[in-house]
């Protein structure tokens, strides 16, 4: 094995460029020129933000165990459709939310960054699970392949810890993202389990 521990960020020169570009910038305003709208009206912004928050379209990006909990979230019991986010799009061009559910390793990292770049703005990222947040159970000395947290590669909006996090935690993450977009949190619909379930 190579004597010096290989830097786990030394993935791809393109990725390094991306990190420099996004460093210190908020997810909605990056250093790549995203031309600000010619006319900005507070009311229309608020309306658009409300629409975006309530119909986030996630990209199918389940990498490992957390993907199963993400699938459970979209199914009948936990039902992400109530929050408008059930339509998982396979193509990044049609989605605006990337839920990174699982471990990112050095081979996968360029693909992750490419997909992020392909999503049209405004785009949001949820890091779901301990592996995506900070490397999770793989942050050990013996690790030579796992990237310790997806926020080393792309800017993240909401972090959901857990190994794997419960589907309710993912719903809470989406609600917090909605709050981040619109500035307020919607009281309905709430996750009320029917009697005897």
């Amino acid at each position: 094995m190579a004597e010096q521990k290989k830097s786990l960020l030394n993935v791809h020169s393109y990725t390094k460029e991306c990190i420099e570009r996004y460093d210190g910038a908020s997810p909605q305003r990056t250093k790549i020129s995203e031309a600000p709208p010619l006319i900005r009206m507070k009311l229309s912004d608020a309306i658009f933000d409300l629409c975006r928050a309530n119909s986030l379209w996630p990209l199918t990006f389940g990498l490992s165990c957390c993907a199963i909990e993400m699938m459970c979230c979209g199914m009948a019991r936990f039902d992400l459709a109530r929050y408008g986010a059930e339509v998982f799009r396979p193509s990044p061009r049609q989605s605006d939310l990337m839920i990174v559910a699982g471990t990112v390793n050095r081979k996968m990292a360029p693909a992750l960054v490419t997909l992020y770049e392909q999503m049209p703005a405004p785009r949001y990222v949820i890091a779901m699970g301990n592996c995506a947040v900070a490397g999770g159970p793989f942050d050990v000395e013996a690790n030579y392949d796992v990237v310790l947290g997806v926020d080393k590669l792309i800017p993240v909006d909401v972090y959901i810890p857990g190994c794997p996090p419960r589907p309710e935690a993912l719903i809470e993450g989406i609600l917090q993202l909605q709050e981040k977009i619109t500035g307020k949190r919607f009281p309905f619909p709430q996750n009320k389990m029917p009697e005897g379930a």
């Binding site: 094995m1 190579a2 290989k6 050095r106 081979k107 030579y144 392949d145």
Partner: protein, 182 residues
């Protein structure tokens, strides 16, 4: 499949065939091979109806040991065949006999650096392309052990005053002497 007849054929090809206690170690036979007999052994196993369970390497001194595991669909017979790599860390491939070995050998190359001669496509399977030289599972100098240290020790004899302890088996680079059962 007549196990006694197959055992005779193994004894012709190998340097040692050992019966192992299944209840403790989970396999039935231990066969030690030289690396040029590996392909004949694999052909024999395929003809007898064994399937390839696993192919992996263990980093010990004096040489990396490649372990093949076979089992049978009809009778319970789990065989571990071992061979040390030669001086150039190479081993003949069995991927034209057992196609499942194709990926196992690529992975062994990734992790231990063992080159399989005759393999059709020995590119990295699990590690990224640029990490061909990483060889993560090779042990550091401090942790590397002798092949003797990882072999099953014969059970200790009763502590009688005149009892002789069991002789320590010697190890040669390309062959392993069969251990004595006490």
């Amino acid at each position: 499949m007549d196990i006694n007849q197959v055992k005779k054929q193994w004894q012709e090809l190998s340097t040692a065939v050992e019966d192992v206690e299944y209840a403790v170690s989970g396999h039935d036979y231990n066969v030690c091979l030289e690396c040029d007999k590996v392909r004949d052994f694999a052909t024999l196993m395929l003809d007898e109806g064994f399937y390839l369970v696993d192919l992996m390497a263990v980093h010990v001194t004096p040489a990396i040991e490649v372990v093949y595991q076979f089992a049978h669909f009809e009778t319970r017979c789990r065989v571990l065949a071992r061979a040390f790599v030669d001086d150039k860390v190479e081993m003949p491939t069995i991927s034209d006999i057992y196609q499942g070995a194709n990926w196992h050998e690529r992975e062994t190359r990734d992790f231990h650096g063992v080159v399989f001669i005759g393999h059709p496509y020995l590119k990295p399977l699990i590690l990224p392309e640029e990490d061909v030289d990483l060889k993560p599972l090779l042990k550091a100098e401090a942790k590397l052990k002798d092949v003797d240290a990882v072999r099953r020790k014969p059970p200790e004899p009763a502590p009688a005053p005149k009892a002789k302890p069991a002789p320590k088996p010697e190890v040669k680079p390309a062959a392993v002497k069969s251990q004595e059962q006490s």
